[in-house]
């Protein structure tokens, strides 16, 4: 994009009624092509582990006593840190096409993140003290390092100095204490409260301005991982709901003065005071949310956007053939999942569940639903690609399926009803699976219900229904879906030993023992659980040739932010 064009955009944006932008820098790797950077090969991710000490920003305090590198930048970020400080330089704008429409309920307040667009915007303007890297391993961010006592009940986080909020206020420990206390406050009613087991408001203290101590009522050796849930982005002490919803008030790389929910295009401005040297790489980041699939494709082909966050499967081959466009992918993506409630007949019989699992033809499912691009899964929404993940994929075996079906008491087949809605990829996913099960004598009818009210009316109440999950860390996922008291325990899994194993895995620092326990729990779900997960579809993004320095991320709700 030319200089004048960019200035034009800026001018126009400022002059036209609904835009007001502020600055910010990208935590994750952002860059736009035309600044003379040589085009890097678009990284197909999961490659290098992201923790490289060389790439670490010059921190103000030396990190001490820790096994964890002070900070991370991602692969691309490490390679190009030179372009920032030159005096007069052309303004750069990255136009980022997002694959879902914004809604007027979008908010910048991390306590109330409910949609993927919320997640996207919040990733730009605010930050966590700990974040997940590409392999879903917790990595220091606004915290420089942490220490735990021997039992994993008391965690001390040493915070980064020299970080400021968008309003100029320095970031200190009191902000961290306030952020977490706010999440736990029943009057705030944040969906994030449930993700902090064992943390009580008075368990948070700030011995000095750059130290936060969290005391837990139950041990958790992976507490840093637990606090990477998407609601824990740090807000300044005292900030109210009204302060946070529609203006950026974080420490993030980008900022915006007046955020207007539901706009198609939202322009974020670089945060001039951002703490990570070299970031953000662009002056303006324009997020263009495009709900219509045809328009999305036309936009990347024409160059109305530089990047398209997610390419519809049907168009992937076409875009790959386009010489102006590159496809960038990350195998860790999202999963459509069927669940059954294992305490409700006929699903209370594990032989039936096993019959369904054996009848599922994973390679064929990937071929027919995802053009052969999906990762084969093993009936648990946790892939083997992540830390502590077990993986594997049950062999398709119709004989075994029929045998288990007979043992369950249905030698002549069984009729089931799967509740779904016409949303996500279920319209293809479900019929393909239906055909596969039919071969084993499992006749599944599809009960199609209204999409608007699916999550409220059907999900969690229908005994056999569709659901969908982004990839979580193993510990988070096991706790979220299978703990007997979990709010989202859709399969009604309730096993005292399982709960005890989960607690034990959270209480031991012995990595081998933790791996053993996590694998044992996953194996138990694979063999007896009520989830049916044939495949996981990765993130496929598209970028115009010449755009470099960013990549799609598999991390829950921080996907893909330039």
């Amino acid at each position: 994009m030319s200089d004048s064009e960019q200035k034009g955009i800026v001018k126009r944006t400022l002059s036209r009624r609904r835009f007001n932008m502020i600055a910010g820098g990208s935590v994750l790797l952002a860059a736009c092509g035309d600044d003379g950077d040589t085009a890097q090969p678009a990284a197909t991710t999961t490659a290098a582990p992201a923790t490289t000490t060389e790439a670490a920003p010059a921190t103000t305090t030396p990190a001490t006593t820790t096994t964890i590198a002070p900070t991370t930048t991602t692969v691309a970020g490490a390679a190009e840190t030179t372009t920032t400080t030159a005096a007069p330089r052309p303004l750069k704008t990255l136009r980022y096409g997002y694959h879902a429409a914004t809604t007027s309920a979008d908010t910048l307040d991390p306590a109330y993140r409910t949609s993927s667009t919320d997640g996207l915007f919040q990733t730009l303007v605010s930050e966590q003290i700990v974040r997940l890297d590409e392999n879903l391993t917790p990595t220091p961010h606004l915290a420089e390092y942490w220490e735990a006592n021997d039992t994993g009940t008391e965690w001390t986080f040493k915070l980064r100095e020299g970080v400021t909020f968008h309003d100029g206020k320095p970031f200190v420990a009191a902000d961290v204490v306030y952020t977490f206390q706010r999440l736990l406050d029943p009057d705030v009613a944040s969906p994030g409260a449930g993700g902090l087991p064992g943390l009580e408001p008075d368990g948070l203290t700030a011995p000095d301005d750059h130290t936060v101590v969290m005391r837990l009522t139950q041990p958790n050796v992976d507490w840093p991982e637990a606090i990477t849930n998407s609601h824990t982005r740090i807000v300044p002490e005292g900030a109210t709901n009204a302060d946070l919803a529609a203006q950026s008030l974080g420490t993030g790389a980008y900022r915006i003065d007046e955020f207007i929910p539901g706009e198609i295009s939202t322009v974020f401005e670089r945060n001039e005071n951002y703490w990570q040297p070299g970031f953000p790489k662009v002056d303006f980041l324009e997020i263009i949310a495009i709900g219509e699939a045809e328009a999305r494709l036309a936009a990347i082909r024409q160059g109305q956007v530089d990047v398209l966050s997610e390419v519809p499967l049907a168009s992937l081959d076409d875009l790959e053939a386009d010489p102006d466009i590159e496809i960038v992918s990350n195998p860790i993506g999202s999963q459509s999942v069927a669940y059954c409630q294992i305490d409700v007949p006929p699903f209370d019989n594990n032989d039936l569940r096993l019959a369904i699992k054996y009848a599922t033809n994973r390679p064929q499912h990937s071929d027919l639903v995802y053009g052969g691009r999906a990762h084969h899964m093993n009936d648990i929404p946790l892939p083997g690609l992540i830390r502590f993940g077990l993986g594997g994929a049950r062999e398709h075996n119709l004989a075994m399926a029929r045998e288990h079906l007979s043992r369950a008491g249905y030698p002549d087949g069984i009729d089931l009803t799967l509740t779904m809605a016409e949303m996500q990829d279920w319209t293809v996913w479900c019929p393909v699976w239906q055909q596969q099960l039919a071969e084993a004598g499992i006749n599944m009818e599809l009960n199609i219900t209204p999409a608007d009210t699916y999550w409220g009316d059907q999900w969690l109440s229908a005994p056999f229904a569709m659901t969908g999950w982004n990839v979580r860390t193993v510990d988070h996922g096991l706790g979220l879906w299978y703990h007997s008291e979990a709010e989202w325990n859709e399969t009604h899994w309730a096993d005292e030993q399982f709960d005890a194993d989960l607690a034990a895995a959270r209480a031991t620092t012995d990595e081998a023992e933790r791996t053993r326990l996590y694998h044992k729990m996953q194996q138990q779900i694979i063999d007896e659980g009520g989830h049916f997960v044939p495949t996981m579809y990765g993130f496929y993004s598209a970028q115009r040739v010449g755009v470099t320095g960013w990549q799609p991320r598999g991390v829950y709700y921080t996907i893909d932010i330039p």
């Binding site: 309920a105 929910p261 495009i290 036309a298 082909r301 024409q302 209204p450």
Partner: protein, 329 residues
């Protein structure tokens, strides 16, 4: 005087109709499953959170009371605040949730939609006039028959299909026009016009077919009428017969068709805005419906219904003014 009485009656009826629209819309939204709180929370909707949100949105008040509050404000020009859309705090504002006013939300979107509708009408009027005359006058020629077929096709193909075809051909394949109609970001008037072209053409295509068919039929009957035959026999030039004698008498049905078209535009614009990602009131209404944001739904519906009612009222009054039989009731 009769005319004054008719005007008064019709206006009163229009007001009653609008009132009925507001009542029906409000209760229809009430009947839909869920409310703004559950829609906003989605998967995170636990009973406690829903209750908390409902209290903040004042959704815990009885429906009748909420409707009465809304209509009282509405008639005084206060269209209320969105239930879901937040805005930054202003100096000295109280803590707690503050939302954008419906007026602030709607005005920019409505402006965009009106601009689009205006462009569509600017293209539509001369296009349908010329095509109507040409196809009627040269009805025996092959090209006129071809044109008529094309118009019937235009009527028959749903507008969203036309929209997607135009998008694929002119935006993706030929790259003549942008795929996203981001008119708020357009830097020049020319750029904005280019962004509006495809949506406007879609609307025009759907409207023109209908209007031309109407006009063609009435022109044909007028052309066969005695006075036109007589004018022709008298030796008047063909153009003069056409423009001075036939056309004025054939315009009535075309005007009625235009009123129907404008009324259709109100709904057609919603679909077209979705396909072309055009930031108008249609896209806004769709979003508000998904979230059950009642004040925005009500305001948008009242505006769209208002256009409908006003067009019909205007047509009625013009007809009454022109037609002695209707005028005397």
């Amino acid at each position: 005087m009769h005319f004054v009485r008719v005007t008064g009656q019709r206006t009163a009826l229009a007001v009653i109709a609008l009132f009925a629209v507001s009542l029906i819309t409000f209760w229809a939204v009430e009947l839909l499953p869920g409310d703004a709180a559950t829609r906003m929370l989605g998967r995170e909707a636990t009973p406690e959170r829903v209750a908390h949100f409902q209290e903040q949105m004042n959704l815990d008040a009885p429906a009748l009371q909420r409707y009465t509050n809304w209509i009282t404000g509405f008639v005084q020009g206060d269209w209320g605040e969105s239930l879901v859309q937040a805005r930054p705090p202003t100096e000295g504002a109280p803590a707690g949730r503050i939302n954008r006013s419906v007026t602030d939300i709607i005005v920019p979107r409505l402006t965009n939609t009106l601009e689009l509708a205006a462009l569509a009408l600017i293209m539509y009027v001369p296009l349908s006039l010329v095509t109507g005359i040409v196809t009627a006058v040269y009805r025996d020629r092959a090209f006129a028959a071809g044109l008529s077929t094309l118009l019937i096709l235009g009527c028959a193909v749903p507008d969203f299909v036309i929209a997607i075809f135009l998008l694929i051909i002119f935006a993706v394949a030929l790259e003549w026009f942008p795929a996203l109609s981001l008119v708020d970001q357009a830097e020049t008037f020319g750029a904005q016009l280019r962004m509006m072209t495809l949506p406007a053409v879609t609307l025009t295509a759907a409207m023109t077919g209908f209007a031309v068919r109407q006009m063609q039929a009435s022109l044909l009957s007028v052309l066969n009428s005695d006075y036109v035959q007589f004018a022709t026999l008298k030796g008047l030039p063909r153009r003069r017969v056409m423009l001075l004698h036939a056309l004025p008498n054939a315009l009535g049905p075309a005007l009625r068709a235009t009123v129907i078209n404008v009324v259709w535009l109100v709904g057609g614009v919603v679909l077209v805005e979705v396909v072309f990602t055009y930031p108008g009131i249609g896209l806004l209404l769709l979003d508000a419906l998904r979230l059950l944001d009642t004040p925005v739904i009500l305001a948008s519906t009242m505006i769209l219904a208002g256009v409908y009612v006003l067009c019909n009222l205007g047509a009625d009054l013009v007809a009454a003014a022109l037609n002695p039989r209707l005028r005397t009731g």
